[in-house]
Amino acid sequence: MSDAPGLEVVGVTKRFGDFAALSDVSLRLHPGTVHALLGENGAGKSTLVKCIMGFYHADAGELLLDGREIKVGNPRDAQQAGIGMVYQHFTLVPSMTILENLTMGLGFRPGRIDWKVERAKLTAFLDTMPFRVPIDRPVSSLAAGEKQKAEILKQLYLQAKLLILDEPTSVLTPQEADEMLGLIRSMATAGQLTVLIITHKFREVLAFADEVTVLRRGKQVGGGKVSELSVPEMARLMVGDQASRDHAGREEREPGEVMLALTGVQALDDAGGPALQGVDLTVRRGEIVGIAGVSGNGQTALVEVLGGQRRHQGAVTVGGEPFGATREEIARHNFALLPEEPLRNACVGRMSVGENMAFRSFDRAPIGSGVWVKRGALRRHARDLVERYNVRTTGIDAPIMTLSGGNVQRAVLGRELSGEVDVLVCANPVFGLDFSAVADIHGQIVAARNRGAAVLLVSEDLDELLELADRILVMSGGAIVYETKRESADRQSIGLHMAGHA
């Protein structure tokens, strides 16, 4: 295997309209190292790597691969130059096996494919890899960690020597993330790979990266060897000298009456298999109930049922009344919901930030009036939320799909939390958020609880649950298999039940 390349990014500038997403950013990846790219939500990290990959054309700047200038017009050029990227969402075809996916990834195959040859080639390749993945099962049946590994393997199979990972660990459990990053790290150390990784987790930076570059508002503001930087230093580079906000602490309070109750809720997944097999749970006023579990054990279906996106059997009641997620019921019970992947589940990408923020309130005063939607009120509402929730956008008229991932999350959270909230359901509310936003959002959730909201918090991050939840339920195989109070919660037994051994 040939050696890991070095990459130099020199003076890249990228504007969208008159907004400069990147101004004169430079960075240097040394061969065989893992380089972390840090920055707040909307700092320009994704934009920078998309410029490297040829998805975007930088307005100025150049790329030097091993000292030679290269021109990357589109992702195929990047692939040819040995640069591969793994996105945060999955790009493999779910209905095909890994063997098929990776073979197709090689590009045009003339005539008919000799699967025996392809299989032999792939197996030979996999034997040289430190990862193991089942190559004959459809991708849709794989766990998130396996899929992510397969995405990485695909890039390596396509001979990427320089691997770019955009928040690769947000879909993984901490164990999976550690395993995957460890493998990549060892390949880099062995001189097979140079890696550029975007992440919001300092822990991962400290454990797996050699060097870091920090972006703030599109400018390169610092960086250096990880061994010479401390977390507070990196954090300061990311946010500048902003005063950090104070967050509500949790008040000791007795939970009130039951606001949200599920009894014997069953639902099927898209393939018609069982996703929920009789879920019973209750959430009271003033408490946060956490749902822990390995992804793929029904949490997504549970949130979809509550959001009216999935048919179900069994009873869901809110405030003691049957709840079918109609608009009227949602408004009456002050029900708020933040689903995972908000751009896919709770936004219309083509509509503006302002319009998306009005999805809950467009039919109520002051925005809705008679049959009309009042533009002025809609814009005021949006401006207010953008400010309060610190959403970084070029303007409230920008289509929401142009926002950075973290900012979409903030926009939706702002929409959901801005009014009165009596019941709040959130799924992985801080996915992809930078550390200051995480603290902010956690503060908002606790504040909602302190005000007496019943909060159901579904999260794949056990630390988040241990920090926030009053009670933790463990979900496995589509049912609640374990329950523990905050005071008596211990990682070990939660972990065992998550893994389904107990």
């Binding site: 998309k50 919901l337 039919d363 939607v373």
Partner: protein
């Protein structure tokens, strides 16, 4: 440059390019027939908009297109592609005549009977297209195909009925229904030869535009049409809204049929299938599914239609010439749409999967 592709100019550019390319290609087609393209274009202009007389002709022809254009543009707001407006048009006409003939004898005021006729036309058309919507989310049947097939069924049903139960015994060689009495025919706009159907069409387009962009219902519709999953999360009745839009769309085409029969033809015969439903597809695409833009586009196409006769008389070109022009225009338009995809991809690569 991203703003350029997304701004108003970017929206207008492809249709304008399509029209220009069509004119060039069609000029070649004319030249190949030994006709001087410039003369032909001058005649087309004259026949379409050159005189008050041709203006009136163009506007009359635009009237049904306004309504059948809506039949495509409204479901498009909900992400549905309906191309079977012709069926709704034909059934609308049939229902309107049936209602007119039945209610005409009850001694009601004419205007009331006309309202009943319009309502019958709207309901008949609305039900056909709503059925396509229903099949879509109940059974996952592709609405484009089903609406097209329904159009064939509708035309066959219409032929069956005018040859059977509703046949006017007086119509000897060509089956047709009885003719509406004169007092039930729609009048003209004072001082013109243009029937009031044009006003119906314009009002319908304006109403659709205002509804989609300024009302709460339209706002909800844009949510559902943009992303049904998001619509569900915010508690909107996704299925019912899609049905409502399909019904309104079919209703528009049905009203178009009512106008055609109550202002022009007087009775339903196989002539009622004028192709207005299909031309509506072209209108809606040219208007980029914007109800307001349908108005000028329908007038433009009505004009092309009106010019056909003059072209035939003066240059001895077959009637189908204008169909060729229309066909070329449609193909160019679709190519321009593909081009638009490219443009946005190159200029503002935001259609790409957005990584978080």
């Amino acid at each position: 440059m991203g703003g350029f592709a997304r701004g108003s100019l970017g929206v207008l550019l492809p249709p304008v390019l399509a029209v220009v390319a069509t004119m060039i290609l069609f000029a070649g087609f004319l030249a190949a027939q030994g006709v001087d393209p410039l003369t032909a274009y001058r005649l087309i202009w004259l026949g379409a908009f050159g005189t008050w007389f041709s203006w009136q002709d163009s506007l009359v022809r635009a009237a049904p297109l306004l309504l059948t254009g809506l039949c495509v543009a409204l479901p498009a707001q909900m992400g549905l592609m309906i191309i079977g407006g012709e069926g709704a048009f034909v059934l609308g006409a049939l229902a309107a005549v049936a209602a007119g003939l039945a209610a005409g004898n009850l001694g009601l005021p004419d205007i009331l009977v006309q309202v009943i006729m319009a309502a019958a036309g709207i309901c008949a058309g609305g039900v056909v297209i709503a059925l396509c919507g229903l099949l879509r989310f109940k059974r996952g049947v592709n609405e484009t195909i089903s609406s097209l097939l329904f159009a064939y069924i509708a035309i066959a049903v219409m032929n069956q009925i005018i040859a059977g139960p509703m046949r006017d015994p007086g119509s000897l060689n060509r089956p047709a229904t009885r003719t509406l009495p004169d007092n039930l025919m729609l009048g003209t706009i004072p001082g013109t030869t243009i029937h009031v159907g044009l006003i119906f069409g314009i009002i319908a387009c304006l109403a659709a535009y205002i509804c989609v962009y300024f009302t709460k219902f339209g706002f909800a519709a844009r949510i559902v049409g943009g992303n049904a999953r998001a619509g569900r999360v915010v508690g909107l009745p996704v299925e019912r809204m899609i049905l409502a839009f399909c019904f309104a769309a079919g209703g528009a085409a049905g009203l178009g049929g009512m106008v055609e029969v109550a202002a022009v033809q007087g009775a339903v015969s196989s002539d009622i299938s004028t192709g207005a439903g299909y031309t509506g597809i072209l209108v809606a695409f040219l208007a980029r599914m914007n109800p307001l833009a349908i108005i000028p586009v329908a007038v433009l196409l009505g004009g092309l239609d009106a010019a056909g006769g003059l072209l035939q008389q003066r240059l001895n070109l077959p009637d189908a010439t204008m169909l060729v022009l229309r066909g070329v225009l449609f193909v160019m338009l679709l190519s321009a749409d593909a081009l638009q995809g490219r443009l946005t991809r190159y200029l503002a690569p935001r259609r790409l999967p957005v990584t978080v």
